[in-house]
């Protein structure tokens, strides 16, 4: 459309055009999906939020330790922490560390085989130790066997405990051997020395 002109007696002048009216409202949305930030048991953004694992009670964290492939018997003494290294009570220890982001249940499973090397009866414990103690004050689980090198030469122990952890606290769970005396070995191969942890929100 051309501009409006007026003759002022000597020249044509352009009449300034007006501003057209506001256009009509936009189309009605055909996208009815929700928008915005998701919260509560959901996370991220609508319309494709993710599920907050803490709210859902699904696995928060899993850890797994094994002995060494081809590992063999390793001497162990009273109060030693089990280890996957050549010597017991030395790093790397058979232990898991976890700091839950929320209050959590932490199920830790530990299995080991022990060999009595002297011909006398003594007892030996596999201890699953949590440090610091959990929210109910529990910190140790002990399982005992009495052994003698020519009678109960080799015995296994398996300790499984579900600890109740506080949020944002770092916990260490390790395997310790306790005994009343005598000579002992622990099997270090990857099938016999095991520690697993699984955490879920309370």
């Amino acid at each position: 459309m051309g501009a409006l002109k007026l003759w002022d007696g000597s020249a044509w002048r352009t009449v300034p055009s007006g501003v057209g009216p506001q256009g009509p409202p936009g189309d009605l949305s055909t996208d009815y999906s929700p928008r915005g930030v998701a919260g509560g048991g959901l996370a991220d953004m609508y319309p494709n939020p993710s599920i907050n694992g803490s709210a859902a009670g699904t696995l928060l964290n899993a850890q797994s330790l094994r002995g060494v492939a081809g590992g063999t018997w390793s001497a162990i003494a009273n109060n030693y922490v089990l280890s996957t290294s050549g010597a017991q009570n030395a790093a790397p220890l058979l232990q898991l560390v976890y700091a839950p982001p929320v209050d959590a249940w932490w199920t830790v499973n530990c299995k080991s085989w022990f060999n009595k090397t002297d011909a006398a009866y003594h007892y030996g414990y596999l201890c699953l130790v949590l440090s610091p103690a959990d929210q109910d004050g529990l910190s140790v689980v002990r399982l005992i066997e009495m052994q003698h090198s020519t009678v109960q030469t080799v015995c296994w122990r398996q300790a499984r405990m579900t600890w109740r952890l506080a949020a944002n606290q770092s916990y260490t769970c390790f395997a310790r051997f306790e005994c009343s005396g005598g000579g002992w070995n622990v099997m270090q191969n990857d099938q016999s020395m095991v520690m697993d942890g699984m955490a879920y929100a309370q």
Binding site: P25, G36, G41, Y46, G57
Partner: protein, 198 residues
């Protein structure tokens, strides 16, 4: 804007001009933050609903019981292990939907106190039986007071529970003779249940 006027010799006439083109259409509307009650796999209220743990397959509940004593307790065949404070070591659960109940226990020290060989069991038992008729899981060892004086028992089992029934888990001791005792300390005796949706 004031209208433009021209004088035609007798009166002012308003100069009219065509309007400009209609403006472009606005953008399509957008969705809004959701509101209202949530259901299905969610609960609570939008936009911050909770997650229904059974729908998500999440851990629904945990039960724990442990020993609170400090002295050995004699135990006879057929008796439940006691917690050291005069009651059975036990956990109970009443599911609102069909669930799996993962139960495990540890009896860290079971002592044979007479000089004869006998077999002693600890048997994890639930009552009533689960949906498949399962009730128990046993761990046994042969002991003698001067040979295998101290031996642990431990074990666990998954049970398939029906809704709206109360189930109780205990640990029952049984033997073919002799005398026995155990230590109901909190590091030596525990019973734990974890609940998952079927």
């Amino acid at each position: 804007m004031t209208a433009m006027k021209v004088w035609d010799g007798t009166q002012w006439l308003t100069v009219s001009w065509p309007y400009g083109p209609v403006g472009p259409k606005g953008p399509p509307g957008v969705g809004a933050n959701p509101t209202g009650p949530a259901s299905g796999g969610l609960n609570g209220t939008y936009p911050n609903p909770g997650v229904n743990r059974p729908s998500a397959g999440g851990l629904m509940a945990v039960q724990r019981d442990w020993g609170v004593g400090s002295a050995y307790l004699a135990v006879a065949s057929g008796a439940a292990l006691q917690n050291g404070a005069g009651r059975n070591l036990q956990i109970s659960y009443t599911p609102t939907i069909p669930v799996w109940w993962d139960v495990n226990y540890g009896c860290g020290i079971l002592q044979k106190t007479d000089a004869a060989y006998h077999l002693g069991y600890c048997t994890l038992t639930i009552s009533p039986a689960d949906q498949d008729g399962n009730q128990s899981q046993s761990s046994g060892d042969q002991q003698h007071a001067s040979v295998q004086t101290y031996v642990k028992r431990s074990g666990g089992r998954w049970y398939r529970l029906a809704a709206a029934t109360t189930y109780t888990a205990t640990v029952i001791f049984s033997s073919n003779g002799g005398t026995w005792q155990f230590l109901p300390r909190n590091d030596m005796l525990f019973l734990i249940g974890r609940v998952w949706p079927q």
